[in-house]
Amino acid sequence: MSIIKYKWFWAWDFNKEEEWLNEMSEKGLQLTDVKAIRYKFEEGRKNEYTYRIEMLDEFPSNKKSRDYIRFLEETGVEMIGCYLRWIYLRKKKSEGEFDLFSDLDSRINHLTKILYLLAFIMPLELLGVINLWRSYSSVNDAFGLIVAILNSILAVTIIMGGSKIYNHRKKLKEERCLHE
């Protein structure tokens, strides 16, 4: 039997998303499809799979991404879905541990990718917020006010998320001075 769940995760909370998918796996609910906030699980054996998610350099349909996904598949990894540049992966626990990164450099790289994405979105979002407040001050309508407030909250959320990733990355970089 399949179960559909709706859940929202911010890009900087990908660790939490992974954790959640693995908790579901512990309960015997195995993710089989994902579309943005819609997660489809199938009832299966408890703890059958380990789940990991990764943000790629390019969209999954890109040649570079396809080569990488094929490489992963050759190591017993299965791709169950993708959303924008994110891919959802799983591997049978019986086939051993499943991690995508085993050294600090590749973990730092992954965080840098997410940080760049946020750095790209941020100015657009800020510009949007400034424009919304500007048009509100000239029109003064309630709807405009709500949209402007919501967008301001969104901008603050993105800044906070970005700094979360930034600090995490900084910590890894400090560690990198001592070991791999």
């Binding site: 990164f101 085993s102 050294d103």
Partner: protein, 106 residues
């Protein structure tokens, strides 16, 4: 100098070079590293992929021509790669020697 090749290799890169003295595909490399290090080093697929691509760019390893599209892609060390592995071995020996002298190895 402009030559970064004389800087210490990562553990993963060193082991990949050693393993590729014989042709091997990605998953084989992961298994072999674990075996060689008695389970201590577990190389993750994403990290391995990054390392392989960098090493291909540097011409330390090369991909073998694919026999068929269904078969896994295999890699092998190049002459350049062998030089890199050999100089890393000398560096590691120096580290061990100095360590033994000061810490006192049995």
């Amino acid at each position: 100098m402009g030559n970064n090749d004389s800087v210490a290799l990562t553990e993963a890169v060193y082991y990949i070079l050693l393993i590729l003295y014989e042709p091997m595909h990605g998953y084989g490399i992961m298994q072999k590293i674990e075996e060689l290090s008695s389970g201590r080093v577990k190389l993750a697929a994403g990290t391995l992929y990054g390392a392989i691509n960098t090493m291909l760019d540097k011409d330390w390893i090369q991909a073998l021509p694919e026999v068929s599209s269904s078969r896994k892609k295999e890699y092998i060390i190049t002459e350049r790669g062998k030089q890199v592995a050999a100089s890393e071995l000398i560096r590691l020996q120096e580290l061990v020697l100095n360590g033994e002298e000061i810490i006192g190895g049995e």
